[in-house]
């Protein structure tokens, strides 16, 4: 137990901050994922063949390639890509992107591919009559989307989005390879310096279980809130 003491003697406070880091990366990645989903879901649902092709390539490639490989691409290629863009604007110094942004972006792109599929499924399962009723009521494009389609989409999407959240949360453990100090990286450091890997990795597992457990409880509440009236 003294291994988990807060302060200089134990790893309690380090692991606590590492847990906060995991939560922060997961939430950031999830939000980035939503941005990607907001871009690609309409492309998937659009009638244009080209838009469909673009969106399908995105979800197929990301869901068919290991997360770790995507993270390596961003880790090794991220600063190169940013420097390339910067050099167009005449800036030729070395730019290093921080591990948080690289990691959150890599996981966000992955989570976005799953979210896109979830939202596509949710929109497609909304009754056609709802769209027609909105038209009949004379709602504009925005009114139709925000008042009629989006609330129903959310209700249908929340159970599946909670799966996406779980995947995203677990995927953040892979960012440890880039050196960002989240739960996995911190356990690796602690295990290395105390030579007690069994304890620290098991403790990391407990932390992840706790995170998934608590977030499931919260999401269930959200689900109840959005399905009121049904």
């Amino acid at each position: 137990m003294e291994l988990l003491a807060f302060g200089d003697t134990g790893w309690g406070d380090e692991l606590f901050y590492a847990t906060l880091m995991t939560i922060a990366v997961s939430i950031t990645a999830m939000i980035i994922g939503f941005v990607f989903a907001a871009i690609f879901t309409p492309l998937k649902l659009s009638k244009s063949k080209l838009s469909n092709f673009i969106a399908n390539s995105y979800t197929t490639v990301i869901r068919g390639v290991p997360e770790l490989l995507v993270i390596y691409l961003f880790f090794f290629g991220g600063s190169g890509a940013v420097m390339f863009v910067a050099s167009i604007f005449g800036y030729n110094e070395y730019i290093e992107i921080n591990a948080f942004i690289t990691g959150a972006f890599a996981i966000g792109i992955i989570s976005g591919a799953y979210s896109t599929e979830v939202f596509r499924g949710a929109v497609q399962s909304i009754d056609k009559g709802q769209f027609e009723a909105a038209n009949v009521l004379g709602l504009g494009k925005f009114g139709k989307f925000f008042k009629i389609i989006l609330p129903q989409t959310l209700r249908l999407a929340i159970p599946n989005l909670s799966n996406v959240w779980q995947i995203t949360l677990k995927d953040t453990s892979l960012i440890s390879v880039t050196g960002l100090v989240e739960i996995m990286r911190q356990s690796y450091i602690a295990a290395g310096s105390t030579r007690d890997p069994l304890f620290f990795y098991s403790f990391a597992a407990v932390l992840y279980l706790l995170l998934t457990f608590v977030s499931m409880k919260l999401i269930n509440k959200l689900e109840v809130k959005y399905s009121r009236g049904y």
């Binding site: 390639v65 997360e67 390596y72 691409l73 996995m184 890997p197 069994l198 990795y201 279980l209």
Partner: protein
């Protein structure tokens, strides 16, 4: 684009893909047995057995695969007693540690898939078997299992693809699988995009094959 690098590294990546496939197939076979065992335990009426099986699947589905590999590879070696038993022959090899972790992980997901498949079997089918005087053992092996397998094929196909992506984590315990070799080439040449296209392409090709294979099986087992 560095075409020369791509041509040179393609054979290396292909031979690493064979290791990925080996890891995948061995852990899927072991995982299928674990999954079936725990699915049966889940359907047991004894609360203790039931809770045990549920706990197993909850823990393995609620923690990242990376943690599981690290506990088995780095953690178990710490127990002095284990080092004296024959198990150490297996546990000191990163290859087998990875396979144990993958098999236990996919076993947890498979047990959930099979459990829900067993639960969706209509009771009428089992009752029909009983009324024909077939023993409950034969009902289970000849009626329930085949139906459950057919029911769970689509979900199991997804699980195979997820597991194939999961094998990439073997590279974190020094195994040179497809991702391991790709990372090695990237970190020595600093050409991430070229290598990503090749390695990602090979992974996508494998996903494509698995997907089609499952669809073929689904067609075959349709009734």
């Amino acid at each position: 684009m560095d075409l020369e690098l791509m041509i040179n590294s393609f054979p290396k990546l292909l031979s690493a893909a064979v290791i990925t496939l080996k890891l995948l197939s061995v852990s899927l076979i072991i995982g299928l047995f674990i999954g079936l065992l725990f699915a049966i335990l889940r359907l047991n009426k004894n609360i203790l057995i039931n809770k045990f099986a549920y706990g197993y699947s909850y823990i393995f589905r609620g923690t990242p695969l990376l943690v599981q590999i690290f506990i088995i590879y780095f953690g178990l070696g710490q127990i002095e007693y284990l080092r004296t038993t024959f198990l150490w022959v297996i546990l000191k090899e990163p290859y087998w540690c990875a396979i144990i972790a993958f098999a236990l992980n996919t076993g947890a997901y498979t047990s959930e898939i099979l459990r829900s498949a067993f639960q969706t079997i209509k009771p009428g089918i089992v009752e029909a078997g009983q009324s024909l005087g077939i023993s409950s053992k034969i009902i289970f092996y000849k009626i329930q299992i085949p139906i459950a397998i057919r029911q769970s094929l689509p979900a199991y196909g997804n699980e195979i693809i997820l597991m194939m992506k999961g094998t990439s984590l073997a590279s974190t315990v020094t195994i040179m699988d497809l991702t391991g070799v790709a990372k090695y080439i990237i970190s020595t040449t600093f050409k991430p995009i070229e290598v990503f296209i090749l390695a990602g392409g090979i992974y996508l090709f494998m996903t494509f094959c698995i997907h089609n294979l499952i669809q073929l099986l689904e067609k075959k087992y349709k009734y």
